[in-house]
């Protein structure tokens, strides 16, 4: 057969252009001109994969060969085969794929199937530079390359599996059984501790308030005792003034009576005068009362003169502004109170919503929140905030606000108070004028009018004295009227007229009673003494005896007041200490509550997060249209194995997982939640195991590829060697790999041809990987022979091995009409003295039996012409091809 190689495109690898049609020929040529490439191209066309163990060479073959046309003629029946190859179409593809249809094939210029081509001709290359060891190494390297390719395929699949599984398990992987019981217990414990701390705080607050109340009670008594001596003295002086005024009234009345008797008026006037004389004292008294009330209001408000309507309005506004500012400060300084106020308002609105609206979604915070959940959540937090103590400055501002509101009320009442005074003044003025008019018409009217004016003046003085006396008494009664009750800030009396009489503005004709008879000083002191005795029950029990001793006795009340004051000083000192201690306990309890709140909230957050994650996972797992929708039946079975009934599973997946489910140890939903957690975790583990199983397979492909790569490289240093990731393998895995390598090599060595040529026709050959030795039994002597693998590199052994390889090709004759064998690079490793023997063997035993044409390639031994001349000396007509630089020497085999 004649082979012609023609590059039809730019570039391309160097390749010899022609292999002439001789049955046996030797090509002696320069290095790098493409002798071996020609043989490999023909192998590739024949359906072989010459680069299996040489991935880099395959890559170069694809990239650099270019467009090449191979023409084969000299075939039986005069057929001509033409193969058009374009290596660019192979780039990025595997050799095994490309070899199936490597390009376009023609037989006698007709398009042909590659299988038809391969039935006509098969070409094989036997590398003369490849001894037994190299062959074994190449075989293992081919296996390594295959394993590496499968490793890469497996990696791709594992990556895809991982991506898909992650989508399935994104909502599951954060659900963990580990620590669930501890977290739930922690939540229960923290919640219980918070409740206890809050109770303790409430008790401490109550105790503190009781002590404060007691202190204020005793302080009020002390204040009263402090004021009483001066009040008693004032009362005595007012009583003296009253008695003096009474005497003056009596004298004036007597003079008026005498003058009246001497006057003559008609009957009608007499009745009018009598009525007015009787009425005027009452009008004067009411006027005095109104004036006192007005004065008292001014004292309370700190003003000395009447306020105008504009001033009143401005003052009310100013107080409004102050109150609002204080309220705003309190809202900022006491956030717990501010939040609680908002909570109460919101919770009230939520609770007031209709029953069928309670399950509606009202907010979305990570998940949908329903009305009743929000109300419950606000209620829980509101109760927690109840334990947060109110700062002292906030309480102080609240007291100030109450005082301001009281002051505002007094300011607002001023117009009525002024009006009342003016009305009373008008009545007095009218009565006085009318009386003067009536009397002016009577005989001796001037004298009578003068007497009457004198009497009226005296009576007005008496009334003023009476009012003053009443004020003193009222001050005493007000002081002792505390009755031991705490004085609440702002709890001051409503503005009212002094004297307690019925206002008669509406009906001036109503008779009034006479002024009451003033109480004597002794009576007032007796009242005070009774009050001292009366407060005994309220005195701190530790000092009750002392108090009783101070109150008892017949001494003047002022002496007893003095003794009581001394006792109270001791009581107040003791109570002040008690108050400080109670305040400390209250503050400590508040700190405990704050700490418990933090702990409880942290535990609640942990539990809440667990429930949230579990709820999300369960919803994902039970979603008909979700990624797990096609596995609901299998998931039911997993749930049952985890102790979770399907009904419970559905209930948890569709309902709400509430923290309250975790609080009670015997709560059935708590047990279901624990089982559901195990269920989710089991599903996630099963899914993860699926991926890890695939990873395990992939890793073993990688292990196998790495091991074979390394071992083949160790056997033959001529193979490509690149650093690779030597992953750690279990010792047992290493044993499997070495056993496989031993077995594979032993099988290769046990081929009939090798056994015949190298191993004395032994029945079997064994390879030992630990020392790289080959052993077999010599059939005749039954002696066990053992040789190192490197011993098969001698010239004799290479020759024998080459013969064996040729023998292995014998079966090709049954597959194709024509078989061509290249003995490539011979002469380099076959011993010189064996080369002629090899050619003889080829000529007589291989040609025509194993192959129809045999091409031997050797390196150029001299100049081209010299080689040609040497051949002609042997009567052989050699052909020189220069360029590229080779000589074809046909052998005479006929």
């Amino acid at each position: 057969m004649r082979f012609q190689f023609e590059s039809t495109g730019p570039g391309g690898l160097p390749i010899i252009p022609v292999i002439p049609d001789h049955r046996l020929l030797t090509i002696e040529g320069r290095n790098g001109i493409g002798k071996t490439l020609a043989a490999r191209v023909l192998e590739f066309i024949s359906g072989e994969q010459p680069f299996t163990a040489l991935p880099n060479a395959w890559e170069s073959f694809c990239t650099d060969l270019g467009r090449l046309t191979v023409t084969i003629d000299g075939l039986p029946a005069g057929r001509v085969i033409k193969c058009e190859l374009d290596s660019k179409t192979w780039v990025g593809r595997r050799e095994s794929e490309c070899v199936v249809i490597p390009g376009a094939a023609f037989i006698n210029d007709e398009t042909a199937d590659w299988s038809d081509v391969r039935r006509i001709i098969q070409v094989r290359r036997i590398a003369g530079d490849e001894g037994l060891t190299e062959t074994l190494a190449r075989t293992l390297r081919e296996a390594s390359v295959s394993a590496r390719r499968l490793d890469q395929t497996a990696s791709t699949i594992v990556r895809r599996l991982g991506d898909e599984l992650r989508l399935l398990t994104d909502d599951l992987i954060q659900v963990r059984s580990e620590g669930l019981a501890e977290d739930v217990q922690q939540y229960r414990s923290a919640t219980g501790q918070l409740a206890n701390a809050q109770q303790a705080l409430t008790a401490a607050q109550e105790a503190h308030e009781q002590i404060v109340t007691a202190y204020q009670f005793h302080r009020a008594i002390d204040s009263t005792l402090e004021k009483l001596p001066a009040l008693v003295r004032d009362y005595g002086e007012a009583l003296a003034r009253h008695q003096s005024a009474e005497s003056a009234v009596a004298a004036a009345d007597k003079a008026l009576t005498e003058t009246g008797r001497q006057q003559k008026v008609d009957a009608d006037k007499a009745r009018q005068i009598e009525w007015l004389v009787g009425r005027l004292p009452h009008r004067l008294r009411h006027l005095a009362n109104a004036q006192v009330a007005e004065q008292q209001a001014h004292v309370r408000l700190g003003v000395t003169e009447r306020l105008s309507p504009i001033e009143i309005r401005d003052r009310i506004r100013q107080i409004d502004v102050m109150i609002k500012a204080l309220e705003e400060e309190n809202r900022s300084a006491y956030l717990a109170g501010t939040v609680r106020d908002a909570q109460i308002a919101i919770e009230g609105e939520l609770r007031a919503m209709p029953r069928n609206a309670q399950n509606e979604r009202i907010a979305t915070i990570g998940r949908d929140i329903r009305v009743h959940e929000l109300a419950d959540g606000i209620s829980t937090r509101r109760k927690q905030l109840e334990g947060v103590p109110k700062p002292d400055e906030v309480a102080q501002r609240e007291r100030t606000i109450l005082q301001l509101r009281n002051e505002q009320m007094w300011v607002a009442s001023l117009p009525d108070i002024y009006k009342r005074t003016e009305q009373k003044q008008k009545l007095v003025d009218e009565g006085t004028s009318e009386l003067a008019l009536l009397r002016g018409n009577a005989e001796d009217g001037d004298a009578l009018a003068a007497a009457d004016a004198s009497a009226a003046s005296a009576r007005r003085d008496l009334l003023i004295a009476a009012v003053s006396l009443r004020e003193c008494l009222a001050a005493i009664e007000a002081a002792i009227g505390l009755g031991g009750e705490a004085v609440e800030p702002g709890a001051e009396e409503e503005p009212a007229l002094l004297g307690g009489e019925v206002d008669d503005d509406a009906d001036d004709d109503v008779d009034d009673t006479e002024l009451p008879v003033p109480r004597t000083l002794e009576e007032v002191e007796a009242t005070i003494a009774a009050w001292l005795a009366g407060v005994t029950d309220g005195i701190d029990k530790r000092f009750a005896t002392h108090w009783d001793g101070a109150v008892a006795g017949s001494e003047p009340v002022l002496s007893r007041i003095e003794r009581c004051t001394a006792v109270l000083a001791e009581v107040l000192a003791t109570l002040a200490k008690d108050r400080e201690a109670a305040q400390r306990r209250r503050d400590e309890a508040a700190v405990e509550v704050s700490g418990a709140i933090v702990t409880q909230r942290r535990a609640e957050d942990v539990a809440s997060t667990r429930l949230e994650r579990l709820g999300m996972a369960l919803r994902t797992l039970r979603d008909d249209g979700g990624p797990w929708g096609s596995h609901l039946g299998a998931l039911d079975a997993v749930a049952l194995k985890c102790g979770l009934a399907v009904d419970s599973l559905n209930d948890l997946a569709t309902g709400e997982l509430a923290l309250s489910d975790l609080l009670e140890e015997e709560e059935p939903r708590g047990a279901a939640i624990a089982a559901a957690t195990r269920f989710v975790e089991a599903v996630a583990e099963i899914t993860a195991e699926l991926e890890s199983s695939a990873v395990r397979v992939r890793d073993q492909w990688s292990n196998a590829a790495n091991y074979l790569y390394k071992f083949s490289g160790d056997l033959s240093t001529r193979l490509d060697h690149h650093p690779f990731d030597e992953r750690s393998m279990r010792a047992s895995a290493g044993k499997v790999l070495t056993e496989w390598a031993e077995s594979t090599i032993s099988e290769l060595l046990s081929s009939p041809e090798l056994r015949a040529e190298l191993f004395d026709n032994s029945a079997s050959v064994t390879f030992n990987i630990s020392d790289l030795t080959v052993s077999w039994i010599e059939p005749e002597t039954k002696r066990r022979r053992r040789r190192p693998l490197e011993a098969f590199s001698s010239g004799e052994q290479v020759f024998a091995y080459t013969k064996a390889k040729l023998e292995r090709l014998r079966s090709l004759r049954s597959q194709a009409e024509t078989v061509v064998v290249f003995l490539d690079e011979f002469g380099a490793f076959v011993a010189r003295d064996r080369f002629a023997q090899l050619v003889t063997y080829v000529q007589h035993d291989a040609l025509g039996v194993i192959a129809d044409q045999i091409v031997v390639t050797v390196p150029l031994s001299g100049e081209l012409e010299q080689v040609r001349d040497n051949a002609s000396l042997a009567n052989v007509e050699a052909e020189v091809y220069d360029p590229p630089g080779y000589v074809v020497i046909p052998a005479n085999v006929d």
């Binding site: 998931l635 195991e689 199983s693 397979v697 073993q700 496989w740």
Partner: protein
């Protein structure tokens, strides 16, 4: 399930090297599993040995072809059932 998956994927062309390597990897996986299932290995899965064997046998030949891809949902269903059976 195994048969179903095998039939769903085109069987890639095999040669003796691939067959031999596949057997090698099957043995390596088994050795690895046996080691992983030792009592002192807490990460050992609770999936049944039968499931592991079928999964490994399933993946190995299919991975020899890039065109074929394991049926994830069938694998998952089998894993869930296997876990239940193994409990």
């Amino acid at each position: 399930m195994t048969d179903k998956l095998r039939n769903s994927a085109p069987v890639p062309p095999q040669d003796t090297t691939i067959d031999s390597l596949t057997e090698l990897v099957e043995r390596l996986v088994k050795v690895d599993l046996d080691a992983a299932n030792q009592p002192e290995q807490p990460e050992a899965s609770q999936l049944s040995a039968e499931y592991r064997a079928s999964l490994q046998a399933l993946l190995t030949p299919e991975m020899s072809s890039e065109e074929s891809e394991p049926d994830l949902h069938a694998l998952l269903e089998a894993a869930l059932r296997s876990w239940v059976d193994g409990q």
